[in-house]
């Protein structure tokens, strides 16, 4: 199973885990990213590049399934304006093997951050501000190359 979604609506992490578990797995790993209220941030707006985004996420899923023995991969990314505490992104993997599920899950979220065309704008106390990339994100993605 490869499940890729780019959507403004929220998703249900429990339902996503159920779908992954159904894929004859012994191990399911997941990562959920949530809007943090650091530095007075009240909300984020997520912009993306329609068409390219779906392709980039499908390429990442494919890369993970080539590298690890996975029975299922799910990537869901929300777009639009999301308040503090809202879910932004979900990455889930299913495998017969625990290490494969865990490593592929980390790979997917690390690489998504550098390879998928999304841009975040913060709204908060300090006004509106486009988020800049962090060197730690590039380093996290690089360890998979």
């Amino acid at each position: 199973m490869r499940r890729i979604a780019v959507q403004s609506e929220d998703f249900d992490p429990g339902a996503e885990l159920d779908l992954l578990q159904g894929a004859d797995a012994g191990a399911v790993a997941s990562f959920t990213g949530i809007v943090r209220g650091d530095d007075g941030v009240e909300a984020l707006t997520l912009e993306h590049y329609p068409g390219m985004t779906e392709r980039a996420l499908a390429d990442l899923a494919e890369a993970a399934m080539t590298r690890w023995p996975l029975s299922a991969v799910t990537i869901i990314h929300r777009i639009g304006t999301l308040p503090k505490g809202a879910r932004i992104v979900f990455v889930g993997t299913a495998s017969a093997h625990r290490a494969a599920a865990l490593e592929a899950c980390a790979f997917l979220i690390d690489r998504l951050k550098t390879d998928a065309p999304f841009w975040k704008k913060e709204h908060g106390r300090a006004g509106d501000r486009w988020v800049e990339t962090r060197a730690t994100d590039a380093a996290a993605a690089d360890r998979w190359r």
């Binding site: 590049y49 998928a116 486009w130």
Partner: protein, 85 residues
């Protein structure tokens, strides 16, 4: 042949457009040269393209280097480094 030029994030905000269709000048053979040509329009374009090293580019939805050839691409996109996830 006309090309679709797409702008995202603060590039889009400075330019004031999400996309436009344009005929490139004959010598605009790389994303960097297109960026310089757009910067020369002045105004928001000049601001958006003042520092091409801060920009990333995709040709037909594949990320490329700013000095790669544009070739037969039908769509070029300029944007800042991505910040999703």
């Amino acid at each position: 042949m006309p090309l679709d030029i797409l702008y995202f994030a603060w590039v889009r905000e400075h330019v004031g457009l999400s996309s436009e269709r344009a005929e490139l000048p004959a010598d605009a053979s790389t994303p960097l040269k297109v960026a310089q040509w757009l910067a020369a329009r002045g105004g928001g374009y000049a601001t958006a393209f003042a520092a091409p090293e801060k920009l990333r580019c995709a040709l037909d939805q594949q990320v490329v280097a700013m000095t790669d050839p544009i070739g037969e691409a039908r769509e070029i996109a300029f944007f800042p480094p991505v910040t999703g996830g």
